[in-house]
Amino acid sequence: MSGTTRSSTPTRRRTKATGTKASVETPPTETPPGENQPSEVERERAQRFYRQMLFIRRFEERAQRAYTQALIGGYCHLNLGEEAAIAGLMDELRPEDYLFTNYREHGYALARGIDPNAVMAELFGRVDGVSKGWGGSMHMFDVSHRLLGGYGIVGGQLPIATGAALALQYKGADEIVMCTMGDGTVAIGAFHESLNLASLWDLPIVFVIINNGLGMGTPVAHSSALPDLYRRGDAYRIESARVDGMNPDIVASATATAVDVARGGRPYLLEVVTERLKGHSVVDPAKYRSGDEAARLKGVDPVRAYAQHLTAIGVHDAESIAQLDAEVLREVDAVAAFAAASEFPDTSTLFDYTYASPVPNDSRRLPGDALYPAAPIVGGAA
């Protein structure tokens, strides 16, 4: 495990890529989480993290409810259990960095700062959605916040993200790409091809494996011959680390290292070990989980754990936590109300996005439309 765990403070952040490899300019101040007397900056970040985690939690629960109310369709995959991982990862990206994710991305969209109304409206399939209602739960995209999707094909985002990093290198840009994926995704060919290309070409990209232990019902040990997923980096000469994904501070520290390496012009593979608290998607009762496993999960909750931690170090108390929760719940209710009030896209827009550029002879027929209108009879034609 090559990642160092460091606290991430704004002063430590680089403002410019140096072109050198992942050296650390300022020595890391070791502040193991749980230690007392956090600095003001740390308190602020902790509060930000907690609010974000809580918001994701309540948002996802609201989405789950809306799904059962048939306000959301298709597949709907939630980030329940992954809140700490998301908060820590997203905090280390600059706004101008690019993010590619899989289909389990609501929390990422929120943490990138996208308007929650637009995220929920997308789930509801409304025009005000981030993808104008075209994408749904699996396909959120917001060019202004540089969330470049939301991909439903397992592994599909990897080559694309790699290419985005290639474009950044090509342009000599200072931004990096982060590309997240699940543990089950490691088995697919695109993983291999993408990591090899990224390393061969020295691309500024952080590949993140969100290891929540399962791909649908398949445990990592059944999908990967080498269950230490971060060690896959070795096969491509890519620096890598595994990190506890249940605490946002720890994730942020490891992410800082990863981002530094990428900003310096080399790919990085970060495995974030987390939990999927519920089924694969909203409709999955996860019956394949053993009773023991279900019992264990009851004791695991990154949001609750962080609340306890913040209470212990005096950043929060029971009252402020309850207050915050009430506030977030109100916000999420407003968000759901917004989404429900948003219009559905007009069916006249059905053909608007097939092509980006105008094209003659494009087929714009609705089902059943005649290819040719019944011709008037031309008696003497033959």
Partner: protein
């Protein structure tokens, strides 16, 4: 005779085939512990164990290719690809390998495998999860492609596919899994490559496959009721080989045809059907073959857009009426 869902007919057939032939084995993502994304394999891991019912990692190319090699050595693997959209990742193995191994090596070894996979649309799964790309397989010599529309056909064709010595793409449909129908207890295997006239009629030939064969039958019944129309319905059942004769003979009788399909219109399955009719029944056809298909867009998530893009019953009714009007128009004006 038992009434079963399409899902249950598939499940029972897989089970009876696992019991019948030790060489039959199942492979795919989440077919075991998870019991199948759409529960087609529910209970089979428990009954037959992991040797016969093998969960795979997410590696469509790898496990589909592995089924090819296993088939070459005498197994009869039945692969589940979770939805047909993901089969694009295995296309090289299916098209460049499964379909070619018998011919390219001079007929030395066959590849007796089945790839089960559902198509569909209308489930708000978005553009990359709602495609009907059976065309990609139907186009390829060396493959056989079947597309049952009823529980009984699902059983009869799955029996045939598993017994077949060639690779068979077995097209299921998300929207059919819960549909019900009678399945004779001693139903024999179907013959791959044959279409079925599922309703005889004289006024117009309505053609479909998979879900659209069901819609065709329903609409024909409705129009018999409402308009007194006598529509002949054909379920293609097999897309490769394509049973041209059954279709052409029907149109020679009815003089008009409408083709229903859930894929995109241009270059879709219906193009060949329309071209075939226009050729084989050239002197009999009284109006152009009309095709009812999906709008040519990446299917949007939002329900109203998705609904607008997918063929509805009303679209089918309209197409039939328009075609009959054109026939009347032409015949009354004496253009033939």
């Amino acid at each position: 005779m038992t009434e079963l869902t399409y899902r249950e007919a598939l499940r029972q057939t897989l089970r009876s085939e696992l019991l019948r032939d030790e060489d039959v084995m199942l492979m795919g993502e989440e077919i075991g512990v998870f019991e199948g994304s759409y529960k087609i394999t529910a209970g089979l891991l428990e009954e037959f164990g992991p040797r016969r019912v093998r969960d795979t990692p997410i590696a469509e190319e790898g496990f589909t290719g592995a089924a090819i090699g296993a088939a070459m050595l005498g197994l009869r693997p039945v692969v589940e690809i979770m939805t047909i959209n993901f089969s694009l990742l295995a296309l090289d193995q299916i098209v460049n390998h499964a379909a070619k191994i018998h011919g390219m090596f001079g007929g030395q070894m066959s590849v007796p495998m089945v790839i089960r996979t559902p198509g569909g649309g209308g489930q708000q799964l978005g553009a990359s999860h709602s495609q009907n790309i059976e065309l990609y397989y139907a186009f390829v010599p060396g493959l056989k492609v079947v597309a049952p529309s009823t529980p009984a056909d699902a059983r009869a064709l799955l029996l045939a596919a598993i017994k077949d010595d060639d690779p068979v793409l077995f097209l299921e449909n998300l929207a059919l899994y819960n549909t019900k129908g009678d399945v004779p207890d001693d139903l024999p295997a179907a013959t791959i490559g044959k279409a079925k006239v599922t309703r005889p009629g004289r006024d117009l030939t309505l053609i479909g496959y998979s879900r659209m064969a069901v819609v065709a039958l329903e609409v024909a019944e409705e129009l018999a009721e409402s308009d007194g129309l006598d529509i002949e319905v054909i379920d293609l059942c097999s897309l490769r080989p394509l049973d041209r004769e059954t279709v052409v003979e029907s149109v020679k009788k009815t003089h008009a045809a409408v083709m229903l399909e859930d894929d995109w219109l241009t270059y879709g399955i219906g193009a060949e059907v329309a071209a075939t009719i226009s050729d084989g029944a050239f002197d009999y056809l009284d109006a152009p073959v009309r095709r009812v298909a999906m709008a040519e867009v990446p299917l949007p998530y939002s329900k109203p857009l998705e609904s607008a893009a997918l063929p509805s019953r009303q679209d089918v009714v309209n197409a039939i009426r328009a075609t009959l009007a054109a026939v009347g128009h032409r015949t009354s004006e004496g253009t033939r």
